[in-house]
Amino acid sequence: MKLQIEQPTHLVDISRLPLAEIEDTPEGGLRLGAMTTNSQVAADPRVRARYPVLAQAILSGASGQLRNKATTAGNLLQRTRCAYFYDTTKPCNKREPGAGCAAIGGIYANTAIFGASEACVATHPSDMAVALSALDAKIETESGAGEARVLAMDGFHRLPGDTPHIETELRPAEMITAVVLPPPPPGGQIYRKARERASYAFAIGSVAVAGGKVALGAVAHKPWRAEAAELALEQGASPAEAMAAELKGARPDGHNDFKLKLMTRLGAACLTTTGAGDDQ
C-alpha cells in the first residue's frame, strides 16, 4: 500500500478478533489461531518440542521486528512476488491482469523452476508455509455468512497459470481463522534455508523435511510439495536419488539454473540429516 500497488477503498480492522491462541487439539496436534504472531508460534514450547521444523522455518524468515508483527494467516497470505511486482512502472500480471510479465526476459534470478507460466515466474517468499506444507497442516476458514471450511495446506496456494493475481483458494469475504497442525509425524524434522545474507533475506532455496514428507521453498509460485521425492524415498531411493527424481520435473529458465544444484544438495543434506533416506 505504501508503494500504491494496492489502493483499497476500505480497510477492515480484525486486530481485536479472539484468534491469537495456540491450543492443543484432541488429536494431539495444535491449532494456531490466525492472529498468532510468528514470534509467538516460534517461541511456543509445544511448537519447539513437537514441530521444530516450523519453529526453525519461522525464525529463518524476515527479521525480529517483522516476526513480532506478522501473523500466521498474514504470512500465508503475503503476495507471491518478485522485484518487478514492486516497480509500478513495469508490467505485472499480478498487479494488472493481462498487462504482461516484466520478469520474463528480465534479470531477476530468484524465480520459479517448478510450475511457472507465461504469465508469472514469481516464487512464494514464505518460510513458514514450506514447513506447514511438509507438516500436512490444515487451514480453517470462515466466510462472511458464517460458513466454515477446512483446506489442505498443499492445495491452499495456487500455481500462476493465466491468473497469477489469484494466489489462494480463499474466496471473497472468507478469512482464515486458524491453521491446524496434525500430530507430529514420526521421524526427524529440519528446515534449512539458503540465502544471500544471514538474516532478513528471502530464500533462494529452502527445504523442509518432516518424517518422510518433503517441501521446497523459493522454487515455485507456492510452497512446493516434493511428491516425486517422497515417492522415490518410499521406494528405497537414496537422498540424492530422491532429489534427482524431484528435480527431473524442474524447468529452469537460464537465470535460475543454479537452483538445480542448490536444491539437489540442500535437499539431500536435509534428508540425510533427518534419516529420511535411510533404509528402515
Partner: protein
C-alpha cells in the same frame, strides 16, 4: 605559505595535558540521536505550517517528455501546485562554475530531456503528503523514447580514456612482463553499488522576503549553498543552508539533488514552507552510485617473489552527461615496489543514473583486484601472502620516489598476523572443516590516501565561560561534533562540558565538509588554529588587564589548563577574566591551508585485514566467522568514534565481498534492487566477531595535529581478505564480486 616542518613543534594537542585527545568520549550529539530529538532536515520545524512535495520519476531511460496532462492532479484535494517540464520555473545553469567536480550535469530539475530511468519529470505539492502522493498518481505523461546504452559489458567497445587523463607508465611494463619467470594475468569485476544511507535526501525550505532558508541533508555546506543560489539566480548571500544532522552520506550526498531545488522553488511560488523527501526507490534511481569496474591485473615476478612488472587497468562507467571516473587503479601506484609499472582507466558512457563518489572511491573497488592477485601469485610462488608483500615493500613511493610521510604497512601485517593467529592457516585450500562448514583464512593489505584542504573555523568565549566552536562543517554520523569538541577543549584547557559545537550552517566560517576521509584533519586543523588564536587573544587580554593576576606578564608565557589561564602559580578562571575584561565575549577565527611542501611526501593511511570464513558446501553460502584489522592512521582523536569508522568500513567490506550489488535491467535501464529488503547490506547476523586496533602513530607531515583520516581506510582491501579466505576455505577462486551462493556453488566441485 607554511611548511610541514612547522608542524613538528609541540602543541596543546601533542602535549594532551587533559588527556582528551584519543579518549573514547561519547558522541556529542549521541543523546539527541538516540532519543529521537535531533531534528534531521525533513523534521526541522518551519516557521509556519508547511506544504509537502512529491516527486514523479521517468519510467524510460532516454528520450523526451512529449506531453503532460496535469488537469486531474490540479483538481485533486489539497493540491497547491503541479509542475512538469512544461511549467516548472526557470532555473539558472548550475554546477559547472561553482563545483566543476559535481557529478551532476547542468540540467535543471524537471528537464524535458530524460537521461536516465528515474529522472524526475513531475512535482506535486499539497497540504499533506498523502494528498500530494495521491495527486502525483493522476499526472499523465507521454514520452518519446530513444534507444539507450544501458549495459556496461555490452558497451566495452565504446570505452575511452577519461578526458584529461593519461595512463601512468614507469619503466617498460610490457617487456618486463613478457620476460618475467612467474606471471599472473587475471580480470576481477566489482559490481555497481548503491549508497543506501538510512536518511534519504530531504529538504525543508522557506523564504523571508528575498532570502531563502533551507535545511537539507548534504555533506558539503558551501557547495550546496552556491549551487542553489545559481539555480535560483540569486546571490549566495541570500541563501542560508543548514545541515545540522545527517543520517549517512558516504559520498552520495556530496552534492544536492532535486529535493533542494524544488523545495526552494515551490516555497517561493507558494509563499509557504515546503518539505520534500526522496522515497527509498528514488534514493536508488535518482542519486549517484558506485559504478561497476572491470580490473585487469598483470603481475610479473622473479622466483623469489620480487615484482618486476605490475599493471592494473580499470574499465568503469558513468552517465553520459556526467563524467566521473572510479579511479580503481590509483591506490596501486603507491603500494608495492616494481620497477616497471602501468596503471590507467577507461570509461564507458551509459544512459543510466550518474556514477559518483562512494566511501573510498577507487580503493574500495580497486583493492578487490590487486589484493586477490597477490594472494594468487603467492600461491603460484609457494610463498605466504604476507611474505610476498614483505618482499615487495618499497623504501620510497614506488612510482614517484618521494619519501613516505609515515608507512607502517609492514607492522600492520605482522602485528595482525600474530594477534589473529595467521600461522594456523593451512596454505592448501579446502583442508579445514568445522561440521559441514569448510573453513579458511585470508588477509589483504589496506591503503588509502590522506588529504588536507583549506578550511576556517570560528570560536568564541562568552562571559559565562562557555566556549563555542562554529564551523560550516558537517557531521554525517562520523563523530565530527565530538572530535571538534575534544580538540577545542584540549587546546583551551577546559573541560568538555564547557565546549559547544555548532556545525552545518552556511553563515559559519567555511570548511569543505565530509568526504575523502579529509574531514577530521581539515575541519579539526582549522578548529585547532582557531583555538590557538583564542589562546593568544585571551593571553593578551589577561596580561593587559590591570585587574588580572597576570597583568604585565609576557603573553608568550601564559598557559591554559583546568579551566584557568595562568602564568606560573598566578591564575584565574577563564570566565572571571572574560566577564570582567570582555563581558561581550571574545570571538576569533582560525584557518588551515595545505603546506607548500605537502606534496613532497607520499602520504597515506595503511592497514591489514584478516578474515576467517565458513563456506557451506551444500549451498555455497559464505559466512564470516571472525575478522580483525590493524591500522595506522596518524594520531587517533577519539578511540570510540575512530573505531566505529574503521569497523564500519570493514563491515562494508564484508558486504562488498559477499552481499552488495545492483544490476541494470537491459530493457528499462532501471535497477533491479530498489529497496533495503532487496539491496543486501550486511545484517547483524552477518557480522559476528569483528574488531580492529590502531598502531601508535603521529604523522607530522599531515597537519599540525599529526592526525589522518579513518573514514575510508577500513573498507579498503577488506573485501579481498574475505575473498582470499573463501579460496582458502574451499578452493573456489571467484573474481566476480560479490561472492554470492550462486557463484560459490557453481565453483564448488
Amino acid at each position: 605559505m607554511s611548511s610541514v616542518k612547522d608542524w613538528a613543534a609541540p602543541t596543546p594537542i601533542s602535549e594532551n595535558r587533559s588527556g582528551l585527545i584519543g579518549k573514547g568520549v561519547d558522541r556529542y550529539e549521541g543523546r539527541l540521536k538516540v532519543t529521537g530529538s535531533a531534528p534531521f532536515a525533513y523534521e526541522v520545524e518551519a516557521p509556519s505550517p508547511p506544504a509537502y512535495g512529491v516527486l514523479i520519476a521517468s519510467p524510460i531511460a532516454k528520450g523526451l517528455v512529449a506531453s503532460a496532462d496535469i488537469s486531474a492532479a490540479q483538481a485533486a484535494p489539497g493540491v497547491r501546485l503541479v509542475w512538469t517540464p512544461h511549467n516548472v520555473p526557470a532555473q539558472g545553469e548550475r554546477g559547472a562554475k561553482i563545483n566543476p567536480r559535481s557529478q551532476r550535469g547542468a540540467n535543471p530539475a524537471l528537464a524535458a530531456r530524460i537521461e536516465h530511468f528515474g529522472q524526475h519529470v513531475g512535482f506535486v505539492v499539497a497540504d499533506t503528503l498523502e494528498n500530494a502522493k495521491a495527486a502525483a498518481a493522476l499526472v499523465r505523461f507521454e514520452y518519446a523514447a530513444e534507444p539507450a546504452d544501458l549495459i556496461f559489458e555490452d558497451n566495452f567497445a565504446k570505452a575511452d580514456q577519461p578526458e584529461g587523463e593519461e595512463d601512468v607508465r614507469v619503466g617498460d611494463f610490457e617487456a618486463a612482463f613478457a620476460g618475467a619467470p612467474v606471471r599472473l594475468d587475471e580480470t576481477y569485476v566489482s559490481p555497481l553499488q548503491n549508497h543506501a544511507q538510512m536518511e534519504p535526501c530531504a529538504t525543508t525550505a522557506w523564504w523571508d522576503g528575498d532570502n531563502v532558508t533551507v535545511h537539507t541533508s548534504i555533506q558539503m555546506v558551501k557547495g550546496g549553498q552556491h549551487t542553489l543560489a545559481e539555480t535560483l539566480m540569486i546571490p549566495s548571500t541570500q541563501v542560508r543552508l543548514l545541515t545540522r544532522y545527517i543520517g549517512g552520506g558516504f559520498g552520495g550526498k556530496g552534492q544536492s539533488y532535486d529535493d533542494l531545488t524544488l523545495a526552494a522553488l515551490a516555497a517561493r511560488e507558494l509563499g509557504q514552507p515546503v518539505k520534500v523527501a526522496y522515497t527509498r526507490q528514488q534514493m536508488f534511481q535518482a542519486t549517484i552510485h558506485r559504478p561497476a569496474v572491470h580490473m585487469r591485473v598483470r603481475l610479473g615476478a622473479q622466483a623469489d617473489g620480487r615484482l618486476d612488472a605490475f599493471a592494473l587497468e580499470a574499465v568503469t562507467h558513468c552517465r553520459r552527461e556526467a563524467p566521473f571516473t572510479e579511479h580503481a587503479a590509483n591506490f596501486a601506484r603507491s603500494l608495492y615496489a616494481a620497477p616497471n609499472r602501468l596503471t590507467g582507466h577507461r570509461l564507458v558512457k551509459l544512459d543510466i543514473p550518474a556514477a559518483g563518489a562512494m566511501r573510498a572511491p577507487g580503493e574500495a573497488s580497486g583493492m578487490l583486484s590487486l589484493e586477490c592477485a597477490m594472494d594468487e601469485l603467492a600461491e603460484q610462488l609457494g610463498l605466504d601472502p604476507i611474505e610476498l608483500r614483505l618482499r615487495n615493500e618499497p623504501d620510497t613511493d614506488p612510482e614517484t620516489g618521494k619519501p613516505f610521510s609515515t608507512r607502517q604497512l609492514v607492522r600492520c601485517m605482522t602485528e595482525g598476523a600474530q594477534r589473529f593467529g595467521w600461522d594456523r592457516r593451512n596454505p592448501k585450500p579446502g583442508q579445514v572443516r568445522d561440521g559441514r562448514w569448510l573453513v579458511g583464512l585470508g588477509m589483504a593489505a589496506a591503503i588509502r590516501g590522506n588529504f588536507l584542504l583549506p578550511a576556517k573555523a570560528g570560536v568564541r568565549i562568552d562571559a559565562d565561560g562557555t566556549i563555542t566552536l562554529r564551523q560550516g562543517m558537517t557531521d554525517i554520523g562520523t563523530g565530527t561534533y565530538t572530535i571538534l569538541a575534544q580538540i577545542t577543549a584540549e587546546t583551551l584547557g577546559v573541560p568538555l562540558a564547557q565546549v559547544k559545537v555548532e556545525l552545518g550552517d552556511s553563515d559559519f566560517p567555511p570548511a569543505p565538509g565530509s568526504g575523502g576521509q579529509f574531514g577530521a584533519a581539515t575541519a579539526g586543523s582549522a578548529a585547532f588554529a582557531a583555538g590557538m588564536n583564542l589562546r593568544k587573544a585571551l593571553a593578551e587580554l589577561a596580561t593587559g588587564d590591570p585587574n588580572s593576576p597576570l597583568y604585565g606578564d609576557d603573553p608568550e608565557l601564559v598557559t591554559f589548563g583546568g579551566g584557568n589561564i595562568a602564568v606560573d602559580n598566578r591564575a584565574e578562571p577563564l570566565e572571571r577574566l572574560v566577564v570582567r575584561a570582555a563581558p561581550e565575549g571574545v570571538y576569533v577565527e582560525g584557518s588551515i591551508t595545505p603546506a607548500a611542501d605537502a606534496r613532497d611526501y607520499s602520504q597515506h593511511t595503511y592497514g591489514a585485514h584478516f578474515a576467517e570464513v565458513g563456506v557451506d558446501p551444500d549451498t555455497g553460502e559464505v559466512r564470516l566467522r571472525r575478522m580483525f584489522g590493524v591500522f595506522a592512521a596518524g594520531r587517533i582523536l577519539n578511540a570510540k568514534t575512530a573505531m566505529s569508522q574503521i569497523t564500519g568500513g570493514m563491515i562494508w567490506g564484508v558486504g562488498t565481498a559477499l552481499h552488495e550489488y545492483n544490476e541494470v535491467d537491459p530493457r528499462y535501464g532501471s535497477f533491479i534492487a530498489q529497496d533495503l529488503a532487496g539491496y543486501h547490506v550486511p545484517a547483524h547476523a552477518d557480522i559476528v566477531d569483528l574488531s580492529a586496533m590502531f598502531l601508535d602513530e603521529v604523522d607530522d607531515k599531515a597537519n599540525p595535529m599529526g592526525i589522518k583520516g579513518v573514514g575510508e581506510l577500513g573498507i579498503a582491501g577488506a573485501g579481498a581478505a574475505i575473498a582470499n579466505a573463501v579460496y582458502n576455505a574451499c578452493g573456489a577462486r571467484i573474481r566476480d564480486y560479490p561472492l554470492t551462493p550462486e557463484k560459490v556453488l557453481a565453483a564448488l566441485p
